[in-house]
């Protein structure tokens, strides 16, 4: 009876520790969930959680929890790692690091309460959770853009092969009759992430090893790309050759479903083919779906002749303390480390009182320093045709004041403006995305010795635009921009950079920008002409600002 009580206690205890370590990261997990839900290509993440849960349930269906939770070297090491990651996440207020920390903490807790046997079963389902974590350093945005470009490029080659005359500008394919935008859906971003998730689920369910799983996932990504190349090709080809519109309505949806299903089938087929050439070998233990043991078991040596690997495992997994002592240390760690970090992370969720970046209320105005004649009336083939002064509210992200100069020449229309004032470097990309422009590419450049950024923009209607902008501080020194576009980690980097650079930027900051829009993408020589104009006008505007700003 005492043993039954002990085993019951043992069965009850793991639940609260596992739940507690995950709940400690709630602030980050909830923020991450909100962020993920706001991105269309990440909205499948609840399925990842459900899939992980399902896999875990299947794995633990006939498991007896008879492990006494004790501290081992492995558990201590993982515990220290999870606390360290949690602390870093709290320090930088990073949802991304916090979410990774939550998974590491979950794994640590499973390792502690379940022991090696349970941990081995749940390795796959826990690893599956990483699919809900977005790619770091804005790689997902890079992937989106690169996939769009890749799909466009390959489809373009196929169209050339079929003599369907067209041009490719960024992510748009233009034929004689129409303009086709290769949207994110067409580029396969949505289907890539969901297909990879589905295939990963299959791999985990089939208990593939790491190497095999990665190989299958790699192939599945290739199939998704191919399927979407075919989709882009077919949409354009059907319109040009058969006068059929496959880019709208139920036909577009059907095509999308078809290509997705096709990619999925090919991915799974590749896994089967791989299994044909390199069969999965099961060892002695009966954990595999077919009861033939898990992969890798054949590498384990016998009890009397342990391998090096097994020696290491034995070292890492040998209990170092008894159950009671381990429990005290774990409770102490939770109370002294996890709890304060949890409280701090929750505190950081409170709205910040720090000043925003849009439109700080400065005493002076850009309009006082820059006049109608601040820029030359004529430059090369460019001729100034209009000058407008714009005043906005103090909190407008576009800036409180702007002087807009319109230039015509070389068959183009360009608008140069001096905007201000801001408290720091102003990311124009956000403003344009708010005006229904989509960002194709952003890159930092050096123009005339000044830091600048070039934005490659497009609209759904097929309109293209290029914008050059540079920010200057109160000393009329150009402000170095951070890496283009945003992510949670970028916010972290920005915040870090801001702390470092706050001494070197002297407010107020004003911005010089030039935008040229056209129906199609600008030709290379047109880009050069517009860039030259921007450099010249910026030089003139900054010169006047030097005289005017006090």
């Amino acid at each position: 009876m005492q043993n039954e009580k002990m085993s019951t206690d043992v069965q009850k205890r793991p639940q609260w520790i596992v739940a507690a370590v995950v709940a400690a990261h709630a602030a980050f997990l909830i923020s991450m969930a909100i962020w993920l839900w706001s991105r269309e290509h990440y909205q499948f993440f609840p399925l990842v959680l459900m899939g992980s849960g399902l896999l875990a349930w299947l794995r633990l269906a006939d498991t007896k929890w008879n492990h006494a939770p004790v501290l081992t070297v492995r558990v201590v090491g993982l515990g220290m790692l999870s606390v360290a990651v949690f602390a870093v996440a709290v320090w930088f207020n990073s949802n991304w690091i916090g979410s990774i920390g939550a998974i590491i903490s979950l794994w640590t807790a499973i390792r502690y309460v379940g022991g090696p046997a349970i941990a081995r079963r749940l390795r796959g389902p826990v690893a599956f959770l990483f699919l809900a974590i977005p790619l770091p350093l804005n790689l997902d945005l890079t992937l989106v853009i690169e996939l769009q470009k890749l799909a466009t490029r390959l489809a373009s080659n196929m169209l050339d092969d079929r003599r369907i005359w067209h041009t490719v500008s960024g992510v748009a394919i233009t034929t004689l009759d129409r303009n086709f935008m290769v949207e994110e859906a067409c580029s396969g971003v949505h289907s890539l992430f969901s297909c990879v998730t589905a295939v990963a689920f299959f791999c985990v369910f089939q208990r593939y090893g790491l190497f095999r799983s990665l190989l299958v996932l790699l192939f599945s990504m290739g199939w998704v790309v191919l399927a979407n190349v075919f989709r882009v090709f077919l949409v354009v080809y059907a319109n040009a050759a058969w006068q059929q519109n496959l880019d709208t309505g139920w036909r577009h949806d059907l095509l999308g479903i078809g290509t997705y299903v096709g990619a999925l089938i090919c991915s799974l087929s590749t896994a089967q083919l791989l299994e044909f050439f390199v069969p999965v070998v099961w060892g002695k233990l009966s954990d595999s779906p077919t009861g033939k043991g898990k992969p890798g078991d054949q590498y384990y040596g016998g009890e009397n002749d342990p391998t090096v690997r097994q020696k290491i495992r034995q070292f890492l997994d040998r209990p170092r303390l008894d159950e009671a002592g381990s429990g005290r240390i774990v409770n102490g760690t939770l109370a002294l480390c996890m709890l304060p970090l949890c409280v701090l992370s929750l505190y950081q969720l409170l709205p910040s009182a720090s000043a925003g970046t849009g439109g700080a209320a400065f005493q002076t105005s850009v309009l006082e320093s820059v006049t109608e004649s601040s820029t030359p009336a004529k430059y090369g083939q460019w001729k100034r045709t209009a000058v407008d002064k714009v005043e906005r509210s103090a909190d407008d992200p576009l800036g409180t004041n702007s002087v807009v100069y319109t230039y015509e020449g070389n068959g183009m229309l360009a608008q140069f403006s001096v905007d201000g004032y801001y408290g720091e470097w102003h990311d124009l990309a956000y403003c344009y995305t708010a005006l229904d422009w989509k960002l194709n590419e952003a890159r930092n450049v050096t123009l005339d010795g000044n830091h600048g950024t070039v934005l490659d923009l497009y609209k759904e209607s097929g309109e293209n635009a290029v914008s050059w902008f540079s920010c200057f501080d109160g000393q009329h020194t150009s402000v170095e921009p951070p890496d283009p576009s945003g992510s949670t980690l970028r916010t972290l980097l920005n915040r870090f950079r801001q702390e470092q650079s706050s001494q070197s930027i002297t407010p107020p900051v004003y911005q010089c920008q030039l935008m040229v829009a056209s129906e199609g993408e600008l030709l290379p020589h047109e880009l050069d002409q517009a860039k030259e104009l921007f450099v010249e006008l910026t030089r003139a505007a900054v010169s006047d600002m030097r005289k005017g700003v006090k």
Binding site: W165, V278, P279, Q381, G409, L523
Partner: protein, 515 residues
Amino acid sequence: MMERLREWWSFQKRRFWGTLRSIQLPDLLRFEFWWHLLTFPFHWLYENWKTGQRFRHLLFGLPAILFSVLAGMMLGNAGLQGHNAAGTYWTEAESALASQQYQKAELLLTRILRDQSAFQNKARFALAELYSDTGQVDRAESLFEILAPDASEGYSEAHRRLAIILADQISPESSSEDKRRLLWHLDAARDADSPEMALAWARYSLANRDLLTARKQLLKAVDRFPDVYQTLAEIEVRLRNPTPAREYYEKAADHLQKQLERSPENYRARVDYANVLMKLGRLDDAYVILEAGRAINPEENWSSLQASLAVYLHDVLKADGATIVELLEPLGRALECDPNHPSALNRLMSYARTGSGNNEQLRRILERAISQGNEPALAHLALGNLSWLEGDRETASFHFELAVSIRKDMAIVLNNLAWLISHDDPPDLPRALAFVESALEQAPGRPEFLDTRGTIYMKMGNNKKAIIDLEAALPQMPDREKPDILNRLAEIYEALKMHEIADGFRDQAKKLLGR
């Protein structure tokens, strides 16, 4: 002994071969090693096939194999195609341009430029010409400027194009900067042999008054552009080579005649032909040609051309020593065609200006011309002028009135003469007044005559009479003539210190000019 030798020899042989056989090559130099490496995957697959293989996996893997092969074929083919995309697009673009499918051509050329592969300069040039043809002038000029910069060498075809355009506009009066620019593009075109470029070089040489080089270049171009025969002839004339000049004029005449036969409505060709005939002394033929032109296209200014022809005849006759009576006849014909012809009027006035000892002789000639009925109106006009110069106003008016009454268009001639004289340097205002008053006697109230008289009064300082005439003429004049009259009225009122009225006239003039 032999036996021993035989044994020794066998031993040595065995030893030798044994040593040889025992030599082991390193693995990398052994065939077996490489063979094993090559066949290892197949062995490995075969062993796995034998040990853990299931047919089901292969069956399920067939779609992957099938689509891999298909995708590989399609993308591989497309990839190969992609390497030569620029060439394909260029060929198609040339075809589209030739058939004037501009939209398609623009798409194809834009693709070549965006790919930034081959045919860049050609595509840019073709696109610039396309923009030029479709009215997108700014974009065309922008591209041409890049292709043919003034400060560095660009695309030779673009330089060639620009050189031809600039050569068309160059003249001896052009600035040295313009000439330098043309020379730069002529050089950068790297084409001195084609007829178009030879013509451009010739024009450059003519602008620099280098007749010999111009002739040399024109001879290269003449087969392609027979129009230049005329220019060649003029060069020969300036080089005082009458014989070759005549030959070239003859060739020019032949060419222009054929041109007119093909397209009789070609005004330029007709004028050139008449001009060439005139240079060849075939004035009657020239006159007929111009008359034929008038019949085909009456709106053109044939009268002035015919008047010029008559004046030319006058000059030729004068050079041949013809009498004044003989000279008056072509002048009369010139003024009949175009009473406003400046050359004819000036020549006429040159006879009436004389105040030397030849006056008596001139008078007798003119009187004989009247008695013989040879252009009496003009003779009366010339006599009237002569009398005026001699101070005999009464006789002068008498002759003017007769001149006006004989020829209906004499009034216009008198008016035009009055205008010329009043704007001469120095002006002879009283004489001009006499002319215009004679003209007004025949056509009183005619606004052009009132305008002339008003202007003469203004120059005389007689503001009141000037205002009366000008204000009377103003309402009847066409709008295009009114600004000048309004400005003169403004000037008069300004002199009378009536500034507001003057400003009013000036504003009216500005409004009319602004339309």
